[in-house]
Amino acid sequence: MKDDKKKVNQKETLLKVLAYIRPYKFLMALTIIMAAVSVALTLYLPILAGDAVDLLIYIFDPSSLNVASPWPALFFILKKMAVVILLTAVTQWIMNICNNKIVYSIIQDIRKKAFRRLEELPLKYLDAHSHGDIVSRVVADVDQFADGLLIGFTQLFTGVITILGTLLFMISVNVGITVVVVVITPVSLFVASFIAKKTFSMFKLQSETRGEQTALINEMIGNQKVVQAFNREDETLERFDEINGRLEKCSLRAIFFSSLTNPCTRFVNSLVYTGVGLTGAFAVLRGGLSVGQLTCFLSYANQYTKPFNEISGVITELQNALACAARIFELIEEEPQEPDAEDAMVLENAEGEVNLDHVSFSYVPDKKLIEDLNLSVKPGQRIAIVGPTGCGKTTIINLLMRFYDVDQGSISVDGANIQDITRKSLRTSYGMVLQETWLKRGTIRDNITVGKPDATEEEIIAAAKASHAHSFIRRLPNGYDTVIGEDGRSLSGGQKQLLCITRVMLSLPPMLILDEATSSIDTRTEIKIQKAFATMMEGRTSFIVAHRLSTIQNADVILVMKDGHIIEQGNHEQLLAKGGFYAQLYNSQFAIA
C-alpha cells in the first residue's frame, strides 16, 4: 500500500519535473540526438578498429590477398577512424554543454519560483516551519536535484542508448555471442541490487547512529560553557564514546558491504569477457567470425557491461533527486496568502483611526487566544500593550499588520475594513520597530532606505539625526557607506535598534507599532531610543508593547494581556482602581523583597 503510494508520488513528481523541462524542449531534443549520434559513433569505432586488425593478417601474409597491397585499405580505414573520433568528440561536447544548460536553467527557474512563493506565503506557514528546513529546501535540495538530473541526463541516456546500440550491432555481427553477453550481463545488475538491498538497513542504522551522535555533539559542544561550569566533561565524553563505538561498528559494516558492489560486478564483467572470448574464439575456428570481429566483440563486451554497472547507481541517484524535487515542490505548491482583491483600496495618508470590532483569533483552532476584543482608537492616541513575557503581545501586532487574518470580527483603519485594503498600503501606513532588530547585509544607507529607496542624502541624515543615530553612524569607518554583515553582527544591540528607528523615521508613516526593549540596551542608548520614540509618536496613532512604567502611565489605553488573552483594558488610573491583574503587576515591580 505504502509502496504504491510512494510510486504514485514519484510519478507525480516526475511529471512536474517534466513540466519544468518543457521550455527547453529544443535543447532537450538536441541533446538526445547528440547522445544517439555520439553513441552510434562510439560503437562504430570498434568495428573500424576490428576491420583494421583483420587487415593485419594480410599484411603479415600478403599472399592470402588478391589485391596488390592491403595498405591503401588500411589507410582508408584509419582516416575513417580519425573522422569518427573527431565527430564523436564534437557531439559529446555539444551534448555536455546542452545538458548543463538545461539543468542549470531548470534549477534557476525552480529557485526563482520557490523564492517568489516565499514572499507570498502567509506568515502562518513561515512561523510554523523551521527556517533552516526551508532554506535547505531552496538551496541544498535544489542542488541535489540538479546533481541527480545531470547524472540522469548524461549517464542514463547514453547508458540506455549504448546498451541498445551495442545489442543491435552485436546481433548484426554474430547472434551466438550476443546471446552469451545478454545472458551473463544482467547477473551484475542482480548482484548490485542484491548488495544494495542488503546494505540499505546497514546504512539506515549508520545514519541513525550518526544523527544521534550529531544531536549529542550539537547539544554538548553548543553548550560547552555549561558543561565546563558543571565539570561534566568526563561524563559527556563517556556518552560520546559509547555512541562513537556503536557508530564505528555499524559504519564498518555498511561501508565494507557496500564496497563489495564494485569487485563483484567487475567479476561478472570478467566472466562476460571470458565467455565472449571463448565462444568468439570457437566461432573464429568455425569460420563464422574474423579475429577483427572478435576484438570488436571484446571491446563491446566492456562497453555493454559498463552502463549496466552505472545504471544501478544512476537509479538510486535519480530517486534521491526525485525525493529532493518533491520537497521543493511541496514548498512551491504551498497555498499562498489570499491575493488582494482586485478592487482593494489603497490606503493613503491615513488619519490613524483604528477600530477592532468583536475580533476573535487563534493560531490553532482549539486554543482560543483573543476572544471578542473591542477597541476603538482615535487618531493620535497611544495604546500600551502590557503583560508578562510570552503572553502574546505580538499577536496584536500580527493582526494589525495583517500578518495574520482575524477569525471573526473585523479590524478597520479610517473606517475601511483592512481586508479591503491592499496589504502593501496597509503595512506601509504603519511604522514598525520590533525588539528583534533585523538588518540586511549591505551598507548602513541600504538599511535605512528600505522603506524609501529614493530618499536624498539630506533626508537620510535628517532622519538619522532625529533618531539620534547620526552621531554613531558618523563615527563608523565609512560613515553611511559602512557595510554591515548579515544580522548586523558588528553593531551593538542598541545601535541596531537605532538604525531600525531611523528606517521608520525616514518614511514616517501615519501609524506606529513600537516594541520597547527589555534588557539588551544600555541606559544611555535607551534614553536616546526613548527620545526618538517620543519624537515619532508626536501626533501619530501608536501601538506600543510597553515595558517601561512611564510609557504605560502616559498611554491613553492600556491593554493588559495574560496567556494570550486581553484581560483588562483602560487607562492607568482606571486599572489601578480596579485592583486586578494590572494592579498586581504594577505593585510587584516595586515590591520590597
Binding site: V135, L237, L271, V291, M432
Partner: protein, 581 residues
C-alpha cells in the same frame, strides 16, 4: 593533515595490506590482455581448442583471484578508515571539551560542530578512497605502459607520448575548474544568505512592502549563480571529448605502427590487440584518478581544518591548589583588568573589591558595561590580564580547575538544559543529591509549582536544549540546577530576565531565606532586583562607576541614579524627560 596520521597508527597493518591487495588485483587485471593475445596468436592461429579453453579458464581464474584480492583490500581499507575516523572523532571531541571559553568564542561553536561531524566524515571517505585507489590508478597507468613495452618497445613509445598529453589535459582542466567551483560555492552561499535573511526578516520586509525589491535582488544573485555554474561547466565539459580524441588518436597510431611492425614480422596480430587493450585500460583509470583527486583535495581541506582545531593548545594551565578552607566563600578582585582578545578594548578596567562569606553582591550596568565579564572571572572562564582574582584567599590561576568550579554554582544568561529527565538535569549539580534536596532547590528557584504540574514530575523528559519548556521555566530550572550543587559561591548572571516581576521578587525572597552562608553575585539590568544587596557594583564601560548600598549609590553615583530613575520614574504625566534627574 599530516598530524592527523597519528590516528591511523593503530591501523598500520590494515593501511599497508589494503593497498597491497589492491595492487595484486591490478596486476592480475594487467595480465588479461596478454592472455587474450596468446589466445588469438596461439590458440586461434593453431586451431588449438584445448589451448583456447585453457586460456579462458585462466581468464576466469584471474577474475576470481582479482575478486578475492579486491574484497580483502576493501575490508582492510574500510577497517582502517572507519577506525581512523572513530579515533579522530574521540580525540577531537576530547580536545574541544578542553578548550577555554575564549578559544570557543574565537572559533564559534557552529564551526566546531561542523569540524567534528561533516569534516570528519569527509576525511573518512578520503582515507578510504586513498587506501583503495590512490596506488591502484597510477599503478595501472604505468603498469599498462610497461606491459606495452614488454610487447614491443617501439610501439610502446606511443604510450610515452599519449600519457603525458592525457595527464596535461586531465589535470589542466582540473586546475582551471577547481577555483571555478569555489566561485560557484560562493555564489550559492549568497543565494543561501538572501533566502535566510528573507525568512528572518519577513515581517520587516512585508511591513515596508519590499517583497518585489527582494525578489529582484534574489533574481540577480540567482542569475549570477547560473552564470558561474555555466562557466565552470563549459570548462569541465571539455574533459571527456578531449581525452577521447587523444586516446583514440593513440589507437590509430598504434594500429598504424602495429601494421608496420607486423609487416616487418616483429609483432603478431594478437599482440596488436593486446596493445589496443592496454590503451583503453589507461583511459578508464585516468578518469577514475581525476575524480579521486577531487575527493582527496576536499578531504585534505577538511583535514587541515580539523588539524587547526587540534593545534589549539588545550585550555588553561592549572595548578593543584584547592583554596584555603578557613576562608570559604570569600572572593577578592585585586586591581583586575581583562580583555577578550589581544589588541581589543579592555572589557574591565581596574576592578577592586572584596566579598566575604554570606554577602550578596549586586552588579548593575548597561549592555557591554562588563557585568558578565566580571562574574565570568570568578570560575576562571576567562583569565584576568592584570591583577588577580582570588577565591578563598588563593589566586584562581593556582587552582585545580575542577576543584575551583566545584565551589561555584553558575546560572548563565542563556538558560540551557539538556536532553534527559528533569531529575537528570538537576543532578548535573550533584550526582548524589536526594529527591528531597532536588525539590528543595526547585522550591527556592520558584520551579516547584510547574514541575508538580508535569505528568511525570521529576521524571518528565526535557527535549534537546529544553525546547519543550518556556523561557521562564528553563531559567528557573537552571537556577535550581545550580542550587542543587549547594555552592559556596552562587552567580546569577542576569538569569531572571525571562521572569516576570512577581516571580523575580519571589525568587529573590527565597534566595535570601536559603540556609547556609552562600556568597551570591547577582547580575541584573533591573535596579529592583539588586537594591537589597549588601554591596552594589555599578559598572560603566568596564569601569567601576560606584560601589556601595542602594541608598549610598542613590546619593552619590550618577550612573546609578540614571539607571534607577529611568526604571522607577513616577513622574507626572507628560513629563518625558526621564533619567535626566
Amino acid at each position: 593533515m599530516t598530524k592527523l596520521l597519528v590516528y591511523l597508527k593503530d591501523y598500520k597493518k590494515e593501511s599497508v595490506l589494503g593497498p597491497l591487495f589492491k595492487l595484486l588485483e591490478a596486476s592480475f587485471e594487467l595480465i588479461v590482455p596478454l592472455v587474450v593475445a596468446s589466445m588469438i596468436d596461439v590458440g586461434i592461429a593453431n586451431r588449438d581448442k584445448g589451448y583456447i579453453l585453457k586460456m579462458c579458464l585462466i581468464m576466469a581464474a584471474l577474475g576470481l583471484i582479482g575478486l578475492t584480492c579486491s574484497v580483502t583490500a576493501q575490508f582492510f581499507a574500510a577497517k582502517a578508515a572507519v577506525g581512523f575516523a572513530t579515533k579522530l572523532r574521540h580525540g577531537l571531541f576530547e580536545h574541544i571539551q578542553k578548550l577555554s571559553f575564549s578559544q570557543m568564542d574565537r572559533e564559534g561553536t557552529s564551526t566546531l560542530i561542523t569540524r567534528i561531524t561533516s569534516d570528519i566524515n569527509q576525511v573518512q571517505s578520503g582515507v578510504n578512497l586513498v587506501l583503495r585507489l590512490f596506488l591502484r590508478s597510477p599503478f595501472i597507468v604505468f603498469g599498462a605502459m610497461i606491459m606495452a613495452f614488454t610487447v614491443d618497445g617501439k610501439a610502446a613509445l606511443i604510450f610515452v607520448v599519449v600519457i603525458p598529453i592525457l595527464s596535461v589535459i586531465v589535470f589542466g582542466i582540473m586546475l582551471i575548474s577547481i577555483p571555478l567551483y569555489k566561485k560557484v560555492q560562493g555564489a550559492l552561499d549568497r543565494v543561501l544568505g538572501i533566502t535566510r535573511e528573507n525568512l528572518t526578516g519577513v515581517r520587516v520586509i512585508r511591513a515596508f512592502g519590499q517583497e518585489e525589491a527582494e525578489v529582484a535582488k534574489f533574481d540577480g544573485e540567482n542569475d549570477a549563480l547560473r552564470h558561474v555554474q555555466m562557466v565552470a561547466a563549459r570548462i569541465s565539459a571539455l574533459m571527456n571529448p578531449l581525452t577521447y580524441v587523444v586516446i583514440n588518436g593513440g589507437l590509430i597510431a598504434l594500429i598504424y605502427v602495429g601494421a608496420v611492425r607486423v609487416e616487418a614480422g616483429i609483432l603478431t596480430q594478437g599482440q596488436v590487440v593486446a596493445l589496443v587493450n592496454y590503451m583503453s585500460q589507461i583511459l578508464v583509470e585516468l578518469v577514475k584518478l581525476a575524480n579521486l583527486i577531487i575527493t582527496v583535495t576536499k578531504a585534505v581541506a577538511c583535514g587541515n581544518r580539523i588539524q587547526s582545531i587540534l593545534e589549539e593548545p588545550a585550555g588553561m594551565e592549572e595548578k593543584d591548589s584547592r583554596g584555603d578552607e578557613k576562608l570559604t566563600g570569600c572572593v577578592e578582585f585585586d586591581h583586575v583588568s581583562m580583555r577578550y582578545y589581544e589588541g581589543g578594548e579592555e572589557a574591565l578596567t581596574d576592578i577592586h573589591f572584596k566579598a566575604v562569606r554570606g554577602q550578596t553582591i549586586g552588579v548593575i550596568g548597561g549592555t557591554g558595561s562588563g557585568k558578565s565579564s566580571l562574574v565570568n572571572l570568578i570560575p576562571r572562564f576567562y583569565d584576568a590580564e592584570k591583577g588577580s582574582v582570588k577565591v578563598d584567599g588563593v589566586d584562581v590561576k593556582e587552582y585545580d580547575l575542577t576543584a575551583l568550579r566545584d565551589k561555584i554554582g553558575v546560572v548563565m544568561q542563556k538558560a540551557v538544559l539538556f536532553h534527559g529527565t528533569i531529575r537528570e538535569n538537576l543532578k548535573w549539580g550533584n550526582e548524589s543529591a536526594s529527591d528531597e534536596e532536588l525539590w528543595e532547590a526547585l522550591r527556592t528557584a520558584q520551579a516547584k509549582e510547574f514541575v508538580l504540574q508535569k505528568k511525570d514530575q521529576l521524571d518528565e523528559m526535557i527535549e534537546q536544549e529544553g525546547r519543550n519548556l518556556s523561557g521562564g521555566q528553563r531559567q528557573r530550572l537552571s537556577i535550581a540546577r545550580a542550587l542543587v550543587k549547594k555552592p559556596e559561591i552562587l552567580i546569577l548572571d542576569d538569569s531572571a530576565s525571562a521572569l516576570d516581576y512577581a516571580t523575580d521578587a519571589a525568587l529573590r525572597r527565597s534566595l535570601k531565606e536559603m540556609p547556609g552562608e552562600t556568597t551570591a553575585f547577582i547580575v541584573s539590568q533591573r535596579a529592583s532586583s539588586l537594591m537589597h544587596a549588601d554591596t552594589i557594583i555599578v559598572l560603566d564601560d568596564g569601569n567601576v562607576a560606584g560601589m556601595g548600598t542602594h541608598e549610598e549609590l542613590l546619593k552619590t553615583c550618577e550612573v546609578y541614579q540614571e539607571i534607577y530613575y529611568s526604571q522607577f520614574e513616577r513622574s507626572d504625566k507628560g513629563d518625558k524627560k526621564e533619567g535626566e534627574n
